[in-house]
Symmetry: C2
Subunit: 263 residues, 2 copies
Protein backbone atom coordinates (compact mmCIF):
# COMPACT_ATOMS: atom_id res chain seq x y z
CA UNK A 1 0.00 0.00 0.00
CA UNK A 2 2.92 2.37 0.60
CA UNK A 3 3.55 2.42 -3.16
CA UNK A 4 -0.09 3.19 -3.88
CA UNK A 5 0.06 6.02 -1.35
CA UNK A 6 2.74 7.84 -3.31
CA UNK A 7 1.75 6.91 -6.87
CA UNK A 8 0.00 9.45 -9.07
CA UNK A 9 -3.78 9.34 -9.62
CA UNK A 10 -3.21 8.52 -13.32
CA UNK A 11 -1.05 5.51 -12.39
CA UNK A 12 -3.47 4.17 -9.77
CA UNK A 13 -6.53 4.68 -12.01
CA UNK A 14 -4.71 2.70 -14.73
CA UNK A 15 -4.17 -0.23 -12.33
CA UNK A 16 -7.81 -0.05 -11.22
CA UNK A 17 -9.08 -0.02 -14.80
CA UNK A 18 -7.05 -3.19 -15.52
CA UNK A 19 -8.60 -4.80 -12.40
CA UNK A 20 -5.16 -4.99 -10.79
CA UNK A 21 -6.46 -3.15 -7.72
CA UNK A 22 -9.63 -4.46 -6.14
CA UNK A 23 -9.80 -2.96 -2.66
CA UNK A 24 -11.02 0.19 -0.88
CA UNK A 25 -9.10 3.26 -2.05
CA UNK A 26 -8.49 4.80 1.39
CA UNK A 27 -4.84 5.84 1.67
CA UNK A 28 -4.12 5.72 -2.08
CA UNK A 29 -2.55 8.79 -3.81
CA UNK A 30 -2.13 10.61 -0.53
CA UNK A 31 -3.27 14.24 -0.63
CA UNK A 32 -5.40 13.84 -3.75
CA UNK A 33 -9.17 14.27 -3.72
CA UNK A 34 -11.27 11.11 -3.73
CA UNK A 35 -14.90 11.32 -4.81
CA UNK A 36 -18.28 9.63 -4.53
CA UNK A 37 -19.93 8.61 -7.82
CA UNK A 38 -23.56 8.93 -8.88
CA UNK A 39 -24.70 8.12 -12.43
CA UNK A 40 -28.29 8.67 -13.60
CA UNK A 41 -30.02 8.87 -17.00
CA UNK A 42 -30.21 12.36 -18.56
CA UNK A 43 -33.94 12.38 -17.88
CA UNK A 44 -33.14 12.43 -14.14
CA UNK A 45 -29.96 14.52 -14.33
CA UNK A 46 -31.60 17.90 -13.80
CA UNK A 47 -33.51 16.63 -10.77
CA UNK A 48 -30.35 15.12 -9.32
CA UNK A 49 -28.23 18.21 -9.97
CA UNK A 50 -30.95 20.32 -8.35
CA UNK A 51 -31.12 17.88 -5.42
CA UNK A 52 -27.36 18.23 -4.94
CA UNK A 53 -27.63 22.01 -5.25
CA UNK A 54 -30.28 22.10 -2.54
CA UNK A 55 -28.33 19.70 -0.31
CA UNK A 56 -24.71 20.80 -0.62
CA UNK A 57 -23.63 19.36 2.75
CA UNK A 58 -24.25 15.68 1.83
CA UNK A 59 -23.94 16.19 -1.97
CA UNK A 60 -21.19 18.72 -2.80
CA UNK A 61 -20.77 18.48 -6.59
CA UNK A 62 -17.17 18.40 -7.86
CA UNK A 63 -17.82 17.48 -11.50
CA UNK A 64 -20.62 16.56 -13.91
CA UNK A 65 -19.94 14.77 -17.19
CA UNK A 66 -21.53 15.74 -20.48
CA UNK A 67 -24.43 13.49 -21.48
CA UNK A 68 -23.12 10.11 -22.63
CA UNK A 69 -19.53 10.95 -21.70
CA UNK A 70 -17.72 9.07 -18.94
CA UNK A 71 -14.90 11.62 -18.73
CA UNK A 72 -14.93 13.91 -15.65
CA UNK A 73 -13.04 16.75 -17.33
CA UNK A 74 -12.61 19.00 -14.31
CA UNK A 75 -11.44 16.35 -11.86
CA UNK A 76 -9.50 13.99 -14.15
CA UNK A 77 -9.03 14.79 -17.82
CA UNK A 78 -8.81 11.57 -19.83
CA UNK A 79 -10.17 9.33 -17.05
CA UNK A 80 -13.10 6.95 -17.62
CA UNK A 81 -15.79 6.63 -14.95
CA UNK A 82 -16.82 3.26 -16.42
CA UNK A 83 -13.54 1.55 -15.50
CA UNK A 84 -11.54 3.69 -13.07
CA UNK A 85 -13.35 2.73 -9.84
CA UNK A 86 -12.72 -0.72 -8.28
CA UNK A 87 -16.34 -1.51 -7.39
CA UNK A 88 -19.73 -0.13 -8.43
CA UNK A 89 -23.29 -0.58 -7.21
CA UNK A 90 -26.27 -0.81 -9.55
CA UNK A 91 -29.59 0.38 -8.12
CA UNK A 92 -32.76 -0.30 -10.14
CA UNK A 93 -35.98 1.20 -8.84
CA UNK A 94 -34.30 1.59 -5.45
CA UNK A 95 -33.06 -1.99 -5.17
CA UNK A 96 -29.35 -2.81 -5.10
CA UNK A 97 -29.30 -5.41 -7.87
CA UNK A 98 -25.58 -5.96 -8.45
CA UNK A 99 -22.02 -4.99 -7.53
CA UNK A 100 -19.67 -4.94 -10.52
CA UNK A 101 -16.01 -4.07 -11.21
CA UNK A 102 -16.71 -2.04 -14.34
CA UNK A 103 -19.70 -0.56 -16.17
CA UNK A 104 -19.22 -1.99 -19.65
CA UNK A 105 -22.51 -3.90 -19.41
CA UNK A 106 -24.42 -0.97 -17.95
CA UNK A 107 -23.18 2.11 -19.81
CA UNK A 108 -25.70 3.91 -22.05
CA UNK A 109 -25.48 6.97 -24.26
CA UNK A 110 -27.97 8.87 -22.09
CA UNK A 111 -26.08 8.58 -18.79
CA UNK A 112 -24.63 11.51 -16.83
CA UNK A 113 -21.97 11.06 -14.14
CA UNK A 114 -21.64 13.16 -10.99
CA UNK A 115 -18.60 13.24 -8.71
CA UNK A 116 -19.35 14.37 -5.15
CA UNK A 117 -16.85 15.36 -2.45
CA UNK A 118 -15.85 12.66 0.05
CA UNK A 119 -14.92 12.69 3.71
CA UNK A 120 -11.44 11.30 2.94
CA UNK A 121 -10.46 14.89 2.04
CA UNK A 122 -11.54 16.40 5.34
CA UNK A 123 -9.98 13.50 7.25
CA UNK A 124 -6.67 14.56 5.74
CA UNK A 125 -7.35 18.07 7.08
CA UNK A 126 -8.20 16.62 10.50
CA UNK A 127 -5.04 14.49 10.54
CA UNK A 128 -2.99 17.53 9.61
CA UNK A 129 -4.58 19.28 12.61
CA UNK A 130 -3.51 16.38 14.91
CA UNK A 131 -7.06 15.16 15.45
CA UNK A 132 -7.17 11.36 15.84
CA UNK A 133 -9.59 9.43 13.60
CA UNK A 134 -10.84 6.29 15.32
CA UNK A 135 -11.89 4.22 12.29
CA UNK A 136 -8.49 4.80 10.69
CA UNK A 137 -6.66 3.93 13.94
CA UNK A 138 -8.78 0.76 14.27
CA UNK A 139 -8.67 0.04 10.54
CA UNK A 140 -12.38 -0.33 9.88
CA UNK A 141 -14.94 1.41 7.65
CA UNK A 142 -16.41 4.65 9.07
CA UNK A 143 -19.83 4.17 10.78
CA UNK A 144 -22.71 5.78 8.86
CA UNK A 145 -26.31 6.34 9.99
CA UNK A 146 -29.60 7.23 8.32
CA UNK A 147 -30.89 10.21 10.35
CA UNK A 148 -34.31 11.80 10.85
CA UNK A 149 -33.05 14.88 8.94
CA UNK A 150 -35.10 15.35 5.76
CA UNK A 151 -33.09 16.41 2.74
CA UNK A 152 -34.62 19.20 0.65
CA UNK A 153 -36.49 17.36 -2.13
CA UNK A 154 -35.95 18.13 -5.83
CA UNK A 155 -38.15 16.64 -8.55
CA UNK A 156 -38.22 12.86 -8.06
CA UNK A 157 -35.58 12.80 -5.32
CA UNK A 158 -36.31 12.88 -1.61
CA UNK A 159 -35.37 11.07 1.60
CA UNK A 160 -33.32 11.21 4.77
CA UNK A 161 -29.75 12.43 5.13
CA UNK A 162 -26.97 9.95 5.90
CA UNK A 163 -24.20 11.05 8.27
CA UNK A 164 -20.80 9.64 9.19
CA UNK A 165 -19.62 9.68 12.83
CA UNK A 166 -16.18 10.19 14.35
CA UNK A 167 -15.60 10.18 18.14
CA UNK A 168 -13.58 13.30 19.01
CA UNK A 169 -11.88 14.08 22.37
CA UNK A 170 -13.92 16.93 23.88
CA UNK A 171 -10.95 19.30 23.97
CA UNK A 172 -10.45 18.92 20.17
CA UNK A 173 -14.03 19.55 18.99
CA UNK A 174 -13.51 23.23 18.23
CA UNK A 175 -10.36 22.35 16.26
CA UNK A 176 -12.29 19.69 14.33
CA UNK A 177 -14.97 22.25 13.40
CA UNK A 178 -12.29 24.70 12.26
CA UNK A 179 -10.27 22.16 10.27
CA UNK A 180 -13.28 20.85 8.34
CA UNK A 181 -14.98 24.26 7.82
CA UNK A 182 -12.23 25.14 5.33
CA UNK A 183 -13.57 22.44 2.99
CA UNK A 184 -17.28 22.99 2.18
CA UNK A 185 -16.90 21.00 -1.05
CA UNK A 186 -16.13 17.83 0.92
CA UNK A 187 -19.02 18.07 3.43
CA UNK A 188 -17.42 20.93 5.42
CA UNK A 189 -18.21 21.50 9.10
CA UNK A 190 -20.08 18.92 11.23
CA UNK A 191 -23.88 18.99 11.09
CA UNK A 192 -24.28 17.70 14.66
CA UNK A 193 -22.16 17.38 17.80
CA UNK A 194 -23.20 15.18 20.71
CA UNK A 195 -26.45 13.32 21.53
CA UNK A 196 -27.16 10.94 18.60
CA UNK A 197 -30.86 10.66 19.52
CA UNK A 198 -31.44 14.32 18.56
CA UNK A 199 -30.92 13.40 14.89
CA UNK A 200 -32.85 10.17 15.11
CA UNK A 201 -30.02 7.69 15.73
CA UNK A 202 -31.36 5.02 18.10
CA UNK A 203 -28.23 2.96 18.75
CA UNK A 204 -24.81 4.46 18.04
CA UNK A 205 -23.35 0.94 18.13
CA UNK A 206 -25.51 -0.22 15.22
CA UNK A 207 -24.68 1.90 12.14
CA UNK A 208 -26.76 1.56 8.96
CA UNK A 209 -23.60 1.38 6.80
CA UNK A 210 -19.97 0.68 7.72
CA UNK A 211 -18.82 -0.58 11.14
CA UNK A 212 -19.23 0.84 14.67
CA UNK A 213 -16.44 2.96 16.20
CA UNK A 214 -15.58 2.70 19.89
CA UNK A 215 -16.39 5.94 21.77
CA UNK A 216 -13.97 6.29 24.67
CA UNK A 217 -14.34 8.19 27.96
CA UNK A 218 -14.06 11.93 27.29
CA UNK A 219 -14.95 11.59 23.60
CA UNK A 220 -18.03 13.07 21.93
CA UNK A 221 -19.68 11.66 18.78
CA UNK A 222 -19.40 14.23 15.99
CA UNK A 223 -21.49 13.85 12.81
CA UNK A 224 -20.79 15.01 9.26
CA UNK A 225 -23.13 14.89 6.23
CA UNK A 226 -22.19 11.87 4.13
CA UNK A 227 -21.82 11.14 0.42
CA UNK A 228 -23.70 7.85 0.86
CA UNK A 229 -26.86 10.00 1.10
CA UNK A 230 -27.65 9.50 -2.64
CA UNK A 231 -27.83 5.72 -2.05
CA UNK A 232 -30.35 6.29 0.73
CA UNK A 233 -32.19 8.69 -1.60
CA UNK A 234 -32.21 6.02 -4.36
CA UNK A 235 -33.80 3.55 -1.93
CA UNK A 236 -36.54 6.06 -1.03
CA UNK A 237 -37.14 7.66 -4.45
CA UNK A 238 -36.74 4.50 -6.55
CA UNK A 239 -35.39 5.97 -9.81
CA UNK A 240 -35.31 3.63 -12.81
CA UNK A 241 -31.49 3.48 -12.61
CA UNK A 242 -28.82 4.92 -10.33
CA UNK A 243 -25.24 3.70 -10.46
CA UNK A 244 -22.89 4.55 -7.58
CA UNK A 245 -19.47 3.55 -6.33
CA UNK A 246 -19.41 0.90 -3.59
CA UNK A 247 -18.85 2.59 -0.21
CA UNK A 248 -15.09 2.95 0.35
CA UNK A 249 -14.22 2.28 -3.30
CA UNK A 250 -13.86 5.85 -4.51
CA UNK A 251 -12.85 7.69 -7.68
CA UNK A 252 -9.35 9.22 -7.31
CA UNK A 253 -9.13 12.75 -8.76
CA UNK A 254 -6.14 14.68 -10.09
CA UNK A 255 -6.46 17.85 -7.93
CA UNK A 256 -5.38 17.81 -4.32
CA UNK A 257 -7.50 18.16 -1.19
CA UNK A 258 -5.92 21.53 -0.48
CA UNK A 259 -7.10 22.77 -3.89
CA UNK A 260 -10.64 22.67 -2.45
CA UNK A 261 -9.91 24.81 0.62
CA UNK A 262 -11.92 28.05 0.68
CA UNK A 263 -9.20 29.62 2.82
Amino acid sequence: MSDLATMSPTEVRALISKNEINKPTSGMCRGHIQANLVIVPKELAYDFLLFAQRNPKPCPVLDVTDVGSAEPKLMAKGADLRFDIPKYRIYKFGELVEEVSDLKDYWRDDLVGFLLGCSFSFETAMSNASIPIRHIEDNHNVPMYITNIETKPAGKFYGKMVVSMRPIPYQLITRAVQATSRFPQVHGAPIHIGDPSLIGIKDINVPDFGEPSIIKEGEVPVFWACGVTPQSIAMTSRPELMITHSPGYMFICDPKDEDLAVL
Copy 2:
Protein backbone atom coordinates in the same frame (compact mmCIF):
# COMPACT_ATOMS: atom_id res chain seq x y z
CA MET B 1 -33.62 55.23 3.02
CA SER B 2 -33.02 54.81 6.75
CA ASP B 3 -36.47 53.22 7.12
CA LEU B 4 -35.84 50.84 4.25
CA ALA B 5 -32.53 49.88 5.88
CA THR B 6 -34.27 48.59 9.01
CA MET B 7 -37.49 47.22 7.49
CA SER B 8 -37.94 43.46 7.06
CA PRO B 9 -37.44 41.79 3.66
CA THR B 10 -41.17 40.91 3.56
CA GLU B 11 -42.13 44.56 4.06
CA VAL B 12 -39.71 45.90 1.44
CA ARG B 13 -40.64 43.22 -1.12
CA ALA B 14 -44.32 44.20 -0.62
CA LEU B 15 -43.50 47.85 -1.42
CA ILE B 16 -41.48 46.80 -4.46
CA SER B 17 -44.28 44.56 -5.75
CA LYS B 18 -46.68 47.51 -5.53
CA ASN B 19 -44.17 49.65 -7.49
CA GLU B 20 -43.77 51.92 -4.48
CA ILE B 21 -39.99 51.43 -4.56
CA ASN B 22 -38.27 51.95 -7.88
CA LYS B 23 -34.58 52.38 -7.11
CA PRO B 24 -31.45 50.26 -6.60
CA THR B 25 -31.77 48.05 -3.50
CA SER B 26 -28.31 48.73 -2.05
CA GLY B 27 -28.64 49.49 1.68
CA MET B 28 -32.17 48.09 2.03
CA CYS B 29 -32.90 45.50 4.78
CA ARG B 30 -29.42 45.79 6.20
CA GLY B 31 -27.76 42.44 6.95
CA HIS B 32 -30.07 40.42 4.71
CA ILE B 33 -28.86 38.60 1.62
CA GLN B 34 -29.56 40.24 -1.74
CA ALA B 35 -29.44 38.11 -4.88
CA ASN B 36 -28.93 38.21 -8.64
CA LEU B 37 -31.77 36.79 -10.73
CA VAL B 38 -31.61 34.60 -13.83
CA ILE B 39 -34.72 33.09 -15.41
CA VAL B 40 -34.57 30.68 -18.35
CA PRO B 41 -37.00 28.21 -19.95
CA LYS B 42 -36.94 24.65 -18.53
CA GLU B 43 -35.32 23.47 -21.75
CA LEU B 44 -32.24 25.54 -20.83
CA ALA B 45 -32.44 25.09 -17.05
CA TYR B 46 -30.19 22.03 -16.86
CA ASP B 47 -27.52 23.72 -18.98
CA PHE B 48 -27.69 26.86 -16.84
CA LEU B 49 -27.61 24.96 -13.54
CA LEU B 50 -24.62 23.00 -14.83
CA PHE B 51 -22.98 26.25 -15.99
CA ALA B 52 -23.43 27.68 -12.50
CA GLN B 53 -22.13 24.47 -10.94
CA ARG B 54 -18.99 24.64 -13.09
CA ASN B 55 -18.53 28.35 -12.41
CA PRO B 56 -19.33 28.77 -8.72
CA LYS B 57 -17.25 31.96 -8.29
CA PRO B 58 -19.35 34.15 -10.64
CA CYS B 59 -22.56 32.07 -10.31
CA PRO B 60 -23.04 30.77 -6.75
CA VAL B 61 -26.57 29.32 -6.68
CA LEU B 62 -28.68 30.20 -3.64
CA ASP B 63 -32.06 28.94 -4.85
CA VAL B 64 -33.78 27.39 -7.87
CA THR B 65 -37.56 27.50 -8.31
CA ASP B 66 -39.62 24.54 -9.42
CA VAL B 67 -40.61 24.67 -13.11
CA GLY B 68 -43.32 27.31 -13.64
CA SER B 69 -43.14 28.51 -10.03
CA ALA B 70 -41.95 32.02 -9.19
CA GLU B 71 -41.51 31.24 -5.48
CA PRO B 72 -37.91 30.90 -4.25
CA LYS B 73 -38.76 28.63 -1.33
CA LEU B 74 -35.33 28.47 0.30
CA MET B 75 -34.55 32.19 0.19
CA ALA B 76 -38.02 33.73 0.64
CA LYS B 77 -41.05 31.52 1.23
CA GLY B 78 -44.16 33.17 -0.23
CA ALA B 79 -42.25 35.71 -2.36
CA ASP B 80 -42.89 36.13 -6.08
CA LEU B 81 -39.96 36.58 -8.45
CA ARG B 82 -42.30 38.14 -11.05
CA PHE B 83 -43.05 41.22 -8.95
CA ASP B 84 -40.61 41.48 -6.03
CA ILE B 85 -37.67 43.06 -7.91
CA PRO B 86 -37.86 46.75 -8.92
CA LYS B 87 -36.41 46.36 -12.42
CA TYR B 88 -35.85 43.44 -14.80
CA ARG B 89 -33.98 42.95 -18.06
CA ILE B 90 -35.34 40.85 -20.90
CA TYR B 91 -32.70 39.27 -23.16
CA LYS B 92 -33.90 37.59 -26.36
CA PHE B 93 -31.28 35.75 -28.42
CA GLY B 94 -28.62 37.71 -26.57
CA GLU B 95 -30.12 41.16 -27.20
CA LEU B 96 -31.38 43.30 -24.33
CA VAL B 97 -34.87 44.06 -25.69
CA GLU B 98 -36.59 45.68 -22.71
CA GLU B 99 -36.36 46.76 -19.09
CA VAL B 100 -39.59 46.22 -17.13
CA SER B 101 -40.84 46.68 -13.56
CA ASP B 102 -42.60 43.30 -13.38
CA LEU B 103 -42.80 40.09 -15.37
CA LYS B 104 -46.56 39.73 -15.84
CA ASP B 105 -46.21 40.06 -19.62
CA TYR B 106 -43.24 37.69 -19.81
CA TRP B 107 -44.00 34.90 -17.36
CA ARG B 108 -44.57 31.43 -18.82
CA ASP B 109 -45.35 28.05 -17.27
CA ASP B 110 -42.03 26.61 -18.44
CA LEU B 111 -39.76 29.15 -16.75
CA VAL B 112 -37.26 28.37 -13.98
CA GLY B 113 -35.79 31.06 -11.71
CA PHE B 114 -32.29 31.04 -10.24
CA LEU B 115 -31.09 33.28 -7.40
CA LEU B 116 -27.32 33.79 -7.33
CA GLY B 117 -25.23 35.29 -4.54
CA CYS B 118 -24.38 39.00 -4.81
CA SER B 119 -21.41 41.11 -3.76
CA PHE B 120 -23.59 43.21 -1.42
CA SER B 121 -23.20 40.35 1.10
CA PHE B 122 -19.42 40.31 1.06
CA GLU B 123 -19.32 44.11 1.13
CA THR B 124 -21.11 43.88 4.48
CA ALA B 125 -18.36 41.51 5.63
CA MET B 126 -15.71 43.94 4.36
CA SER B 127 -17.37 46.89 6.11
CA ASN B 128 -17.53 44.87 9.33
CA ALA B 129 -13.78 44.29 8.92
CA SER B 130 -13.20 48.08 8.58
CA ILE B 131 -12.24 47.88 4.91
CA PRO B 132 -13.37 51.01 3.01
CA ILE B 133 -15.45 50.48 -0.14
CA ARG B 134 -14.87 53.27 -2.65
CA HIS B 135 -18.05 53.03 -4.71
CA ILE B 136 -20.16 53.17 -1.54
CA GLU B 137 -18.13 56.11 -0.19
CA ASP B 138 -18.53 57.91 -3.53
CA ASN B 139 -22.12 56.74 -3.99
CA HIS B 140 -21.85 55.25 -7.46
CA ASN B 141 -22.41 51.80 -8.98
CA VAL B 142 -19.48 49.35 -8.65
CA PRO B 143 -17.27 49.19 -11.79
CA MET B 144 -17.53 45.88 -13.65
CA TYR B 145 -15.35 44.54 -16.48
CA ILE B 146 -15.57 41.74 -19.03
CA THR B 147 -12.26 39.85 -18.63
CA ASN B 148 -10.28 37.48 -20.84
CA ILE B 149 -11.06 34.66 -18.36
CA GLU B 150 -13.10 31.96 -20.10
CA THR B 151 -15.87 30.49 -17.99
CA LYS B 152 -16.19 26.70 -18.11
CA PRO B 153 -18.84 26.09 -20.76
CA ALA B 154 -21.93 23.93 -20.14
CA GLY B 155 -24.31 22.93 -22.92
CA LYS B 156 -25.37 26.09 -24.76
CA PHE B 157 -23.71 28.51 -22.32
CA TYR B 158 -20.22 29.92 -22.72
CA GLY B 159 -18.37 33.23 -22.61
CA LYS B 160 -16.09 35.46 -20.57
CA MET B 161 -16.25 36.09 -16.84
CA VAL B 162 -17.32 39.51 -15.56
CA VAL B 163 -15.55 40.88 -12.47
CA SER B 164 -16.22 43.77 -10.12
CA MET B 165 -13.34 45.94 -8.86
CA ARG B 166 -12.71 47.63 -5.52
CA PRO B 167 -9.56 49.67 -4.82
CA ILE B 168 -8.09 48.45 -1.51
CA PRO B 169 -5.30 50.12 0.53
CA TYR B 170 -2.28 47.79 0.17
CA GLN B 171 -2.06 47.16 3.92
CA LEU B 172 -5.68 45.85 4.00
CA ILE B 173 -5.51 43.38 1.10
CA THR B 174 -4.86 40.33 3.27
CA ARG B 175 -7.78 41.32 5.50
CA ALA B 176 -10.02 41.72 2.43
CA VAL B 177 -9.09 38.21 1.26
CA GLN B 178 -9.83 36.81 4.71
CA ALA B 179 -13.13 38.66 5.16
CA THR B 180 -14.54 37.55 1.79
CA SER B 181 -13.18 33.98 1.92
CA ARG B 182 -15.75 33.18 4.61
CA PHE B 183 -18.53 33.65 2.03
CA PRO B 184 -18.00 31.36 -0.99
CA GLN B 185 -21.74 31.53 -1.80
CA VAL B 186 -21.47 35.26 -2.53
CA HIS B 187 -18.40 35.10 -4.83
CA GLY B 188 -15.94 34.46 -1.95
CA ALA B 189 -12.29 35.46 -2.17
CA PRO B 190 -10.95 37.74 -4.95
CA ILE B 191 -10.02 36.12 -8.25
CA HIS B 192 -7.28 38.65 -9.03
CA ILE B 193 -5.23 41.25 -7.15
CA GLY B 194 -3.28 43.94 -8.97
CA ASP B 195 -2.41 44.51 -12.65
CA PRO B 196 -5.73 44.69 -14.57
CA SER B 197 -4.06 43.88 -17.91
CA LEU B 198 -3.28 40.32 -16.71
CA ILE B 199 -6.99 39.51 -16.89
CA GLY B 200 -7.58 41.39 -20.12
CA ILE B 201 -8.76 44.76 -18.78
CA LYS B 202 -7.38 47.42 -21.12
CA ASP B 203 -8.47 50.60 -19.32
CA ILE B 204 -9.43 50.47 -15.64
CA ASN B 205 -11.15 53.83 -16.04
CA VAL B 206 -13.57 52.49 -18.63
CA PRO B 207 -15.66 49.71 -17.08
CA ASP B 208 -18.03 47.61 -19.22
CA PHE B 209 -20.84 48.00 -16.64
CA GLY B 210 -21.30 50.44 -13.74
CA GLU B 211 -19.10 53.47 -13.16
CA PRO B 212 -15.33 53.89 -12.64
CA SER B 213 -13.91 54.07 -9.10
CA ILE B 214 -10.98 56.38 -8.30
CA ILE B 215 -7.84 54.41 -7.34
CA LYS B 216 -5.81 56.48 -4.91
CA GLU B 217 -2.06 56.41 -4.15
CA GLY B 218 -1.25 53.27 -2.15
CA GLU B 219 -4.38 51.43 -3.29
CA VAL B 220 -4.44 48.25 -5.36
CA PRO B 221 -7.31 47.21 -7.66
CA VAL B 222 -8.81 43.96 -6.33
CA PHE B 223 -11.18 41.91 -8.52
CA TRP B 224 -14.03 39.61 -7.53
CA ALA B 225 -16.10 37.31 -9.79
CA CYS B 226 -19.39 39.06 -10.54
CA GLY B 227 -23.04 38.00 -10.75
CA VAL B 228 -23.45 40.04 -13.95
CA THR B 229 -21.54 37.22 -15.68
CA PRO B 230 -24.81 35.51 -16.81
CA GLN B 231 -25.75 38.68 -18.74
CA SER B 232 -22.40 38.56 -20.55
CA ILE B 233 -23.00 34.84 -21.13
CA ALA B 234 -26.46 35.61 -22.57
CA MET B 235 -24.89 38.07 -25.02
CA THR B 236 -22.36 35.44 -26.17
CA SER B 237 -24.56 32.33 -26.11
CA ARG B 238 -27.77 33.95 -27.39
CA PRO B 239 -30.41 31.78 -25.67
CA GLU B 240 -34.00 32.18 -26.88
CA LEU B 241 -34.91 33.94 -23.59
CA MET B 242 -33.04 34.96 -20.44
CA ILE B 243 -34.62 37.28 -17.90
CA THR B 244 -32.39 38.92 -15.27
CA HIS B 245 -32.60 41.66 -12.68
CA SER B 246 -31.26 45.07 -13.75
CA PRO B 247 -27.79 45.57 -12.26
CA GLY B 248 -28.18 47.04 -8.76
CA TYR B 249 -31.89 46.18 -8.53
CA MET B 250 -31.63 42.95 -6.57
CA PHE B 251 -33.94 40.40 -4.97
CA ILE B 252 -33.97 40.76 -1.16
CA CYS B 253 -33.89 37.40 0.65
CA ASP B 254 -35.09 36.44 4.13
CA PRO B 255 -31.86 34.87 5.47
CA LYS B 256 -28.98 37.04 6.60
CA ASP B 257 -25.53 37.41 5.09
CA GLU B 258 -24.00 35.73 8.12
CA ASP B 259 -26.19 32.67 7.50
CA LEU B 260 -24.00 32.04 4.43
CA ALA B 261 -20.65 32.13 6.25
CA VAL B 262 -18.78 28.83 6.03
CA LEU B 263 -17.01 29.68 9.27
